[in-house]
């Protein structure tokens, strides 16, 4: 599909999954997505994200936190890619350490943003990953 044929997000009903163990961040990320017309679900750690996909759910975009209990973002991203999940995965984390960021990217991320997320950072993710949105 060419760039010109891509519908804008408001009409295409894009879906997203928020993966974060922190309720404050869950609330903010869900609100950011809803504001841009993106239907979204939320889970609390990487294992729940993997389980959601095992049960047949699929999303256009996954916002993946790095530090989470049970299964962290790097492990979850690797696992999802091993399962053949081709969703766009954007890592979001407060950790700016270059080594950890590199490891996270190499796990299979399509993009990376530092928290806290804002409308403009989310738009940046969406534009980089070729999702177009009308604000």
């Amino acid at each position: 599909m060419t760039r010109e044929e891509l519908p804008n997000l408001a009409e295409s009903k894009l879906t997203a999954l928020v993966v974060d163990d922190n309720f404050v961040n869950q609330s903010i990320h869900q609100k950011l997505l809803s504001r841009l017309g993106i239907q979204n679900d939320v889970v609390c750690n990487g294992k729940e994200a993997v389980d959601a996909h095992c049960s047949g759910r699929n999303y256009d975009l996954i916002l993946m936190d790095m530090d989470m209990p049970i299964m962290n973002g790097t492990q979850a991203t690797k696992r999802l890619r091993e399962m053949g999940i081709e969703s766009k995965i954007a890592g979001v984390t407060t950790r700016a350490n270059e080594g950890e960021k590199k490891e996270f990217m190499e796990a299979g991320l399509n993009d990376f943003q530092e928290k806290p997320l804002t409308i403009s950072k989310l738009l940046s993710i969406l534009h980089k990953l070729d999702f177009y949105v009308q604000t």
Binding site: N22, F23, V24, N25, S27, I28, K31, L32, R35, D67, T94, K115, P116, T118, I119
Partner: protein
Amino acid sequence: MDTLIAQLQRQFRDYTISLYQQGFLDDQFTELKKLQDECSPDFVAEVVTLFFEDCEKLISNMARALDQTGNVDFKLVGSTVHQLKGSSSSVGAKKVKGLCVTLKDCCDSQNFEGCVRCLQQVDIEYKTLRAKLQDLFNLEQQIVQAGGRIPQVDI
């Protein structure tokens, strides 16, 4: 002579500006305000409530860890304060976030006295912010009850 609404709106504006000028809040709080709309008119209050619940829980966990005299798990305290730093950053709680950075440094250098002192400051600071934001939300309510609109404040 100013109407009651105009007085309340001016009070609200001045108080909001003071919270930023005194370093209690930063730009991220402004970003949260942008997300509040008719569909979720209490969004900011709801998110900061979650944040203060986070503060209470995480500070309690860190206090318990620091209470294990002679056997303090600094790594646990460090990872807990990292979580609190994340939440405080997400809501724009500037002073709380700054203290979390200092506390993390104390954990990394296993400075027990520093950790205890800093944790006490974090506790005081989040409670101060909670009281100030409650005052701000009360002002908003007064404006609405008086029939006025909450002014947009440009920082």
